[in-house]
């Protein structure tokens, strides 16, 4: 059973196509990654799935078509996006950021908060600090924690390793693996292709808005075409 199915999704900025006829699926509890070079349309794809950007094509969540559902409705159904720029509430405390993550589910917020703190002990230490004063790695953790507060069934991560030092990147990928073990399905967009393919079950390669390769993550990791795609054919 797939939790997310995307069929022939296209997104355009004005007349300029950014994503063209992309189809992909994320199975329940699975970890799927979309990799590709800069500017391939990866972030655009996630934003369209979350409803931040208008798109054509079909998006099905839990088998039901999302149609024109707004972001709030998608959050309520169990979708969450951790955006590339994190979009934290910078002048509010870490604890408030997390509480607001559960805005739509305020009744169960207490239990979730403890779960998130258990997953990210660092956030518990910093809970009274303003989000804007956190380090890059902590911000990413807070963004992920905030998304988890809504108890999503599908977590979409947009370049979680972006701008982080290698040591922190390793932490983030370990956390992604941990999260997956809790049963939430993950759609991971990454530029760090090797690390992404190592944690994922399945991968899609996006190039200039189209899926050019897809398959088992392990097989993709060994595909020589990927180096060429990232660094040009010469």
């Amino acid at each position: 059973m797939n939790v997310l199915e995307v069929e022939r999704l296209s997104v355009a900025y004005g007349a300029i196509p950014a994503v063209e006829e992309v189809s992909l699926a994320v199975p329940e509890g699975g970890l799927v990654t979309v990799i590709g070079p800069n500017g391939a349309g990866k972030s655009t794809l996630l934003n369209a799935i979350m409803g931040v950007l208008p798109s054509r094509g079909a998006i099905r969540f839990d088998g039901a078509a999302l149609g024109a559902a707004g972001i709030e409705a998608r959050v309520e159904r169990g979708m969450a996006l951790v955006p590339e720029k994190r979009e934290l509430f910078a002048t509010m405390t870490v604890a408030d950021n997390l509480l607001l993550g559960g805005f739509r589910f305020r009744r169960q917020a207490g239990g979730e908060l403890e779960r998130v703190y258990a997953l990210f002990p660092r956030l518990k230490e910093r809970r009274a600090q303003q989000a804007g004063t956190l380090s890059g790695g902590e911000r990413q953790m807070l963004a992920m924690g905030r998304a988890l507060m809504a108890k999503p069934r599908l977590l979409m991560l947009d370049e979680p390793s972006l701008g982080l030092a290698p040591l922190i990147v390793r932490d983030i990928f370990r956390i992604i693996a941990d999260l997956r073990a809790t049963g939430v399905a993950i759609l991971l967009v990454e530029q760090n292709a090797r690390a992404a393919l190592q944690v994922a079950d399945r991968g899609y390669v996006l190039e200039t808005g189209r899926v050019t390769l897809e398959g088992d993550a392990g097989a993709l990791a060994g595909d020589s075409r990927i180096v060429e795609m990232y660094l040009g054919a010469g």
Partner: protein, 340 residues
């Protein structure tokens, strides 16, 4: 000028300043959450004052019918935009109907200050979120300037409707209390104490709302990061409606507090509102404590200038904005591409 006069002027200024502070706070709030410069704030002051004055005199305020009409329009606007029909019906049709029923029943009974004030608030406050839904929600993605022009348009409409529903005559209401407090040479009238007390209480209430409730935090979150707020499922249109409702309530309450002190006309609110603006602009449209301090300063400046040069008090108050803007512009690097 002796110290007694200074004390009286300061006292006067602080009482007026307290009202400006309330208005400045709600202007900063509405701007932060919706990017709307809420020009019609002054009309809410006048509506609150005149509605309360009508109830005080035992008659049915005309604004009641305006409430029903705006509710019906907001319902239609919401249905066109495919909002949830049942909830829309409750908030925009049932609520005005209940308020109307209560008012028609209670108004002739002259139920006293507290009930009158509550009724006036109930009549005027919901108009603000209705106006948000009708006028501003379709423009949610527009630039600050377009929203500002729309706000000016709403001001025109409300000022004209004020004349239709309240007539050209001014009104004044009886004070909340007829006691007064003597502090040495100084006599503090009861109404002034009411104003200061309620202002302080309201500020404490707002502080609590924004600091400790999830809804208040959601409003702050919308102001800090709109995309972030949408991603956690906060509907920005809903936040906008709440911000407008708060501003409407604060405006109406300011009017209710002021009308026992001075005669209020249908168009008196605008100048009062603009002074709230002066304070909000001085504080940079961003800081709540700054807005309160600036508002108190505006009040005191106004009372001193009305003593020294009463004909020019408005000139002095509105010109006070210029040195502040000058200071800001000297500190600011030129922004090249802020428009659109």
């Amino acid at each position: 000028m002796d110290s007694t006069i200074v004390a009286i002027l300061v006292q006067d200024g602080i009482v007026n300043g307290a009202i400006y502070a309330l208005l400045a706070l709600s202007l900063v709030l509405v701007f932060a959450v919706t990017r709307v410069v809420f020009v019609p704030q002054g009309e809410f002051v006048a509506y609150g004052a005149l509605t309360y004055a009508a109830l005080d005199s035992g008659s049915t305020p005309g604004s009641l019918w305006l409430l029903c009409a705006l509710g019906a329009l907001a319902f239609v606007a919401g249905v066109i935009r495919r909002g949830p029909v049942l909830r829309l019906a409750v908030t925009s049709l049932v609520l005005p109907a209940v308020v109307t029923g209560l008012t028609l029943w209670l108004a002739p009974l002259k139920p006293g200050v507290a009930v009158n004030a509550a009724l006036a608030l109930a009549i005027v406050t919901p108009m603000a979120p209705y106006i948000y839904r009708i006028g501003f929600q379709p423009l949610a993605e527009a630039s600050v300037l377009v929203l500002l022009i729309a706000a000016v348009a709403v001001h025109l409409v409300l000022a004209g409707l004020g004349l239709v529903f309240f007539g050209p005559e001014g009104s004044r209401a009886t004070a909340f209390a007829d006691f007064s407090l003597s502090l040495g040479d100084l006599t503090l009238p009861g109404q002034a104490l009411w104003i200061l007390g309620l202002t302080a209480a309201l500020m404490a209430g707002l502080y609590g709302f924004f600091g400790f409730t999830l809804l208040g935090k959601a409003l702050r979150a919308t102001a800090v990061n709109r995309l972030g707020a949408r991603l956690v499922g906060i509907a920005t249109a809903q936040s906008g409606g709440i911000a407008f409702a708060l501003a409407g309530a604060i405006g109406a309450l300011s009017g209710i507090l002021v009308v026992p002190l001075t005669t209020v006309y249908y168009d008196s609110g605008f100048v009062i509102g603009l002074k709230g603006f002066t304070a909000a602009i001085i504080a940079g449209m961003g800081s709540y404590p700054g807005a309160v301090l600036a508002a108190l300063a505006v009040g005191v400046l106004e009372s001193f200038s009305s003593f020294w040069a009463s004909a020019f008090k408005e000139v002095i108050v509105f010109t006070a904005i210029i040195p502040v803007l000058l200071w800001r512009s000297l500190r600011h690097v030129t922004l090249e591409d802020e428009e659109e």
